[in-house]
Symmetry: C2
Subunit: 408 residues, 2 copies
């Protein structure tokens, strides 16, 4: 396995417990050997769920399954394995998912359709489903709430486990939100080769959870890119156990939800940033603030065009303030931009404006910024009020080494 | 400069002369030192032209100029420099183009608007235009037809000069087509950081040339990708000197043009392949044949989704027949595909069909194919009759080395 990302946090955060959730993770040798690779979680009766999934036309079997589970409205369990994505595995893949759900449902005393399934890892190889199902009783016997081992269980090429939490309130009742995520390569909007599971003790109906999650995703997990690749397995599920006992909420527009929405957004952005910081081979974390576009959607398109440009990303890896490549990436996005009003700032320092480099441009302070781990690029394209922020990492030899050798 | 691409041809081809064309290339030290960097060409009176240019919204000054030249209908000269793209250089950039055209026009005795200009290299730096203009008289004194030095003059990060030719006929008259091109990084459809100049002695009006060139481009220069980046300067111009003396053609649909269209297509595909073979860091030439899509446009979108996937390209670099990443790239393209009918062939060997790996799949012969320099991937997405072929190269450490260090 590659070394820990230089952008990794020093240690896994202390994360608060969620009432109504029990879980355990273990080493089941599904494909990896001697790595925590299966997570089994149980939710209190009455738990609701919302989900956002890959838009891939070749989505994996668990994606189809989870979409069906969401229709049922209730969530009682979750089984996740790493090592094998159970994607493009035909009828056998569907049966593997059904076996996992059925076994878990038997143990938890609920319907199969209340068990959510997520799988990540190699595509196109049959999954050793017995290694998962036969270990679920043992995991159930160890149910507790160890967030770090849960985050470990879902990792593939990740070099560090990812978790984040926030405490907020609804109707004056304290609400906790805790989430874990995985992802490092094949990361792009319309989601990434990422899994994220977020748990809250809030009591919220599924039809309120879903639009909140979709909106928050747009500005977090769908605003990051590592390599512009989208996977067959991308999954984000929010489970709400309802154990906090907050007053009833029936509308997504209820002003009592404002703080919750913001807190959920913070957790999602934090997890999304951790995924970028673990981008395969990443040595720099890059924030791109795009303003002046026709509308917010155009701003995001241009921002992602910059964030996905291999030439921009290799320049950042080389610590080269090569703003010419940023100009080219703006141009190729297809969105309106006024070449003669374009303004580019790197590390807060004006680099280009009005269609050319700034008069008396001194590259020294910009070059100094490029040597840091956190790179800030601001671009105003001069045609409107649209704005968006996206995040990416640099493109390095490490990315090539990881992906030319590892079969994922 | 990086070493010559392992995919380069052994030597520059012998290319036939074009009547009505004179040219010379020389070392003018525009930005590079001691490299042939300026090409000056003169066309016989009555030469027509057609052009296809970058769709970038931040196109460079020479692009605007050439679009204007095409409206005039006649071409009398061409000046190209490498080293500086004169892009994002504001008013000074426009003036530089005007100075180049005006100087050349004075020497050739024509209007400025009959002189086409192309520039390639670094973006955002003022171009040392005097170094170009003051050398044009000296180049004119050496006018001849040395194709290799012409191809050398337009190179930037290219590791070998690119040329191709074909002989055909119109109305029974022999017609010659000879072209040169440059490009190796920032290569993607809607053209590439590429320049290509194609010359023919055919006598064809501009309004016949233009639709032929646009159609041919679609299946050649717009069907290749190295790194998905599109530049500010991409230019393809076809000049027809009219010296062959073929009978008059007034319609693009004239059946007498069929052989010419095919020959022009061969020259363009040949040059496009050479650009891919010189892809920055490339060690493998990859052809992707996409069939079974809803229509040809959808097939091309899916083909390019595969060709642009960093995960597919790094797997090819690693000689890994990782067809799971091909499935993922099909899925993310956004075009219709039937997961359960998907068929993938690598090197002519069936790998996957009907939503899974083929029964009894033996990876050995596929792994052997992956070790070669020419990789063939065939994908049928099982929903219709649309088809397209696209070409790309692998993504290697060489790409990172070139682009993290070189400012282009």
């Amino acid at each position: 396995m590659p070394e820990k990302s230089p952008l990794a946090p020093e240690k896994f955060p202390d994360l608060p417990a969620i009432k109504g959730l029990e879980m355990a993770a273990g080493v089941c040798n599904v494909r990896y050997v001697n790595k925590t690779d299966v997570l089994f979680a149980s939710f209190a009766p009455g738990t609701t769920a919302a989900g956002v999934f890959t838009k891939s036309k070749t989505a994996a079997a668990p994606i189809d399954w989870c979409r069906k589970c969401l229709e049922g409205g209730e969530a009682r369990g979750l089984v996740v394995n790493s090592g094998n994505a159970n994607a493009f595995t035909g009828r056998a893949g569907v049966e593997a998912v059904e076996a996992m759900a059925s076994t878990a449902a038997g143990l938890l005393g609920c319907a199969s359709e209340d068990i959510f399934i997520a799988q990540t890892g190699v595509i196109g190889e049959p999954v050793a489903v017995d290694k998962i199902t036969e270990n679920l009783p043992g995991l159930q016997a160890q149910f507790a709430q160890d967030w770090e081992s849960a985050a470990d269980a879902i990792m593939t090429t990740d070099t560090f486990p990812k978790g984040a939490a926030a405490v907020t309130e609804i109707n004056g009742t304290e609400i906790t939100i805790t989430g874990i995520a995985k992802g490092s390569g094949m990361i792009a909007p319309d989601m990434a080769t990422m899994l994220a599971f977020i748990f809250t003790d809030a009591k919220l109906p599924a039809d309120v959870l879903q639009p909140i999650l979709a909106d928050v995703t747009n500005k977090s997990f769908n605003a990051i890119t590592v390599d512009s690749d989208t996977s067959t397995s991308d999954t984000l599920i929010l489970f709400a156990t309802g154990q906090a006992g907050n007053g009833e909420i029936t509308s997504v527009d209820d002003p009592e939800l404002e703080a919750f929405k913001m807190a959920l957004g913070l957790v999602c952005v934090d997890l999304a940033h951790q995924i970028v910081r673990d981008g395969e081979g990443a040595t720099k974390f890059v924030e791109i603030q795009l303003t002046g576009a026709e509308d917010d959607a155009a701003a995001k398109t241009i921002g992602l065009s910059i964030a996905n440009s291999p030439l921009v990303k290799t320049a950042i890896a080389g610590e080269d303030a090569n703003w010419g490549r940023i100009v080219a990436a703006v141009g190729k996005s297809g969105e309106a931009a006024d070449r003669d009003k374009l303004r580019i700032t790197i590390g807060g320092i004006d680099v280009a404006r009005d269609g050319g480099v700034v008069p008396g441009y001194d590259e020294a302070p910009v070059a100094e910024h490029m040597k840091g781990q956190n790179i800030l690029i601001e671009v105003d394209v001069g045609v409107g009020q649209g704005r968006a922020t996206v995040w990416t990492c640099d493109l390095t030899h490490g990315y090539i080494s990881i992906n030319a050798d590892y079969r994922s």
